[in-house]
Symmetry: none
Subunit: 400 residues, 2 copies
């Protein structure tokens, strides 16, 4: 059955507070505790004792997800059925909403020598304003290639996005980035016969770009990766009925929610900016995604104590969020990022759901091991949204 | 997604120690304890306290599996999607690797009277060397039937295997074994029109065999069951990327792993032989299946204390296995065999996964009821392999 068919509008607010990389595994150097177990989290603990707890599997058993699949699962989509290229994620992330006849490409400036050998994959880490100047130069020199429109969009540092707009574009093309310095730029090759025309077009585009860049001292080369056509994913509101707000600081997460058609403003660089935006716009929405990045960053660094700190800081923000009196508050991760692994992992996310209509598990602390005992059980993350909607009384009875 | 696509090679070793029929149910005559609860297992218990525990469902809720489906599930195959005839299992079990144009048939010698009424379904339980002599006699007298090659292969006691090799063979044919003494041999009948030709061929084969056997005092008849064409199952290494070793004493389990293309040597008759083989070949493999048969045997006999003993003996072997320092050690059953039931059962398997990157549940004993509290939760057995591969860091991140 479709959630939209059961949806009934009401004023209830659902907040998904997503602490990126929240979950961990016991660390032998820290008394075999996880970061969440080690952290002092009085606000989370009090909330947990009044909530339903559980564990959510982002994609599938043993599968470590990237942020894309992990977030689609949070938003109720089975991520195995959603295929979105990195180019599209990047394009949406910098605010470009793709149209049907477009193909997005992730592009990096790099430094090459006279034999087209890459000497610096990041063009000497040029600064954002410098990259913006060069992208502007490309924009004014290259408008189209053989009738296909070319749009250049700045990203951050050495990164930008190229949008091709025209008929019959195909994204099954190999990267031009050899992934290593000391190697030459690769030609874009078609992976299927249908992609031959687009591959030739991309090849001419690279030549045109190199020609414009030839006098640049550092950014005189370009690397292309992750070609993608417009993703074909059902809009979140069409699927659930709910008007949705996405609050995130980082382009990747903005990109994901723009693909789903959520309202995705640019409220600022800090988590505080997100909360302030939420305070003044809560009334306009039924579903709010609120992204907290810092636990993941510390986990990726392998810094146990930094992740503990990030969790404790999140705990400090909690009273402000509770003050908004959401009807349903979910606190979870998109995926785990144990500092022991210094990377995303396959371990289920500790998850908390607070609502008047959710069981009151009475479990005293919000930790991975406690979540195992919670009334939500262990479930795939893409099942969580319907439980949240039900707890907000937004889903009618199914069947007579 | 396919595990092979996420696979990344490393030196980590995964050992699946499969204690056949391990799980049980509380027995009213033994303080309502299970065999695992009753047994003294200091080594398993210590290991359990440092591992992740859980329960695995071999096939589906309430479904009692045979050894075939239960093992496919352990190896990560959804057993409902794998269909392998008993004849093929038997053929692989005795070391015959089937080819595309072959059909395997399980055959038993039996004793019949002059009216072809079966007087002993096991031919007076003839000994293996006697069976081998008669199979040799069949081999030298019957080379082919109407152009289809016939290969006879000895098994154990009164059992042997017949391989037909030729064009357009079909396995939808009825057994010739009426399953009871005092009844006559049944004719092999086609179950579908396409199998008519093969059924006629099998009929002529039975006549030819009876003619060769006519002077044998005991083994003067033959019973055919479980016709099967070559199984169409994806190779384990093609599926997972891992080079795999199978260590088992019994033909059935060797057959299963040969079908999957695992290296399946014949190291000897005892569990000790398997462990010794493992010690000297561990470095050549990434995945090792190690089969311990004796808990199942005792359970099938309905002998509670014998199963307790079998579990205690397994516990004694554990230090030797731990001494090999596998990166991931899984201890589980293929299915449960409660002595109260004297048979396989549908109850989930107690399961333990030890790895640096698995949660440390801190649960003090390895029992069915304790596994229910473990962090692996209750899951289908075919999901376990990907968790083990993830815990050995053999799976890359999926998606950006």
């Amino acid at each position: 059955m479709k959630l939209k068919d059961l949806y009934q509008k009401n004023d209830a607010k659902i907040i998904f507070l997503v602490a990126d990389g929240l979950g961990g595994i016991p660390h032998p150097n820290f008394k075999n505790l996880t970061e969440l177990e080690y952290a002092k989290t009085p606000n989370l603990d009090k909330l947990a004792s009044e909530s339903a707890l559980g564990l959510t599997i982002p994609v599938d058993y043993g599968i470590t997800p990237g942020s894309g699949p992990a977030h689609f699962s949070l938003f109720g989509y089975n991520p195995s059925a959603v295929d979105i290229g990195r180019g599209a994620l990047e394009a949406y992330g910098i605010g470009h909403i793709m149209e049907d006849d477009e193909m997005a490409i992730r592009a990096n400036f790099c430094t090459i020598n006279e034999s087209k050998v890459i000497t610096d994959r990041r063009a000497g880490r040029i600064e954002t304003h410098e990259m913006e100047r060069i992208v502007e130069k490309l924009s004014s020199n290259i408008r189209d290639i053989d009738g296909t429109r070319v749009i250049f969009r700045p990203g951050k540092e050495h990164r930008f996005v190229i949008i091709l707009k025209g008929k019959d574009l195909q994204d099954a093309i190999t990267d031009t980035d050899p992934q290593k310095e000391g190697l030459t730029l690769l030609p874009p090759n078609p992976l299927r016969k249908e992609a031959e025309k687009t591959a030739k077009l991309v090849n001419r585009l690279v030549e045109a770009i190199l020609n414009v860049l030839k006098d640049e001292p550092r950014a005189n080369g370009v690397l292309l990766r992750g070609y993608s056509l417009k993703p074909n994913v059902e809009n979140f509101t069409d699927r659930t009925g709910m008007k949705a707000l996405s609050l995130a600081n980082y382009p990747m997460y903005k990109g994901i929610t723009r693909i789903l058609g959520m309202d995705t403003p640019d409220p600022g660089e800090s988590f505080n900016d997100l909360i302030n935006y939420l305070k003044s716009h809560l009334n306009e929405y039924e579903f709010i995604y609120l992204h907290y990045k810092y636990a993941d960053k510390a986990g990726e660094d392998g810094d146990f104590m930094k992740k503990v700190k990030a969790i404790e800081e999140l705990d400090n923000y909690l009273p402000e969020i509770l003050h908004l009196r959401p009807d349903v508050l979910v606190i979870t991760g998109d995926h785990s990022t144990p500092s022991l692994l210094k990377s995303h992992s396959w371990h289920p996310n500790p998850t908390l759901l607070k609502s008047l209509y959710a069981p009151f598990d009475g479990i005293e602390r919000f930790t991975e091991r406690n979540c195992l005992r919670g009334s939500l059980g262990t479930l795939h993350a893409y099942h969580l949204l319907s439980i949240a909607m039900a707890s907000a009384l937004k889903l009618k009875k199914w069947g007579a």
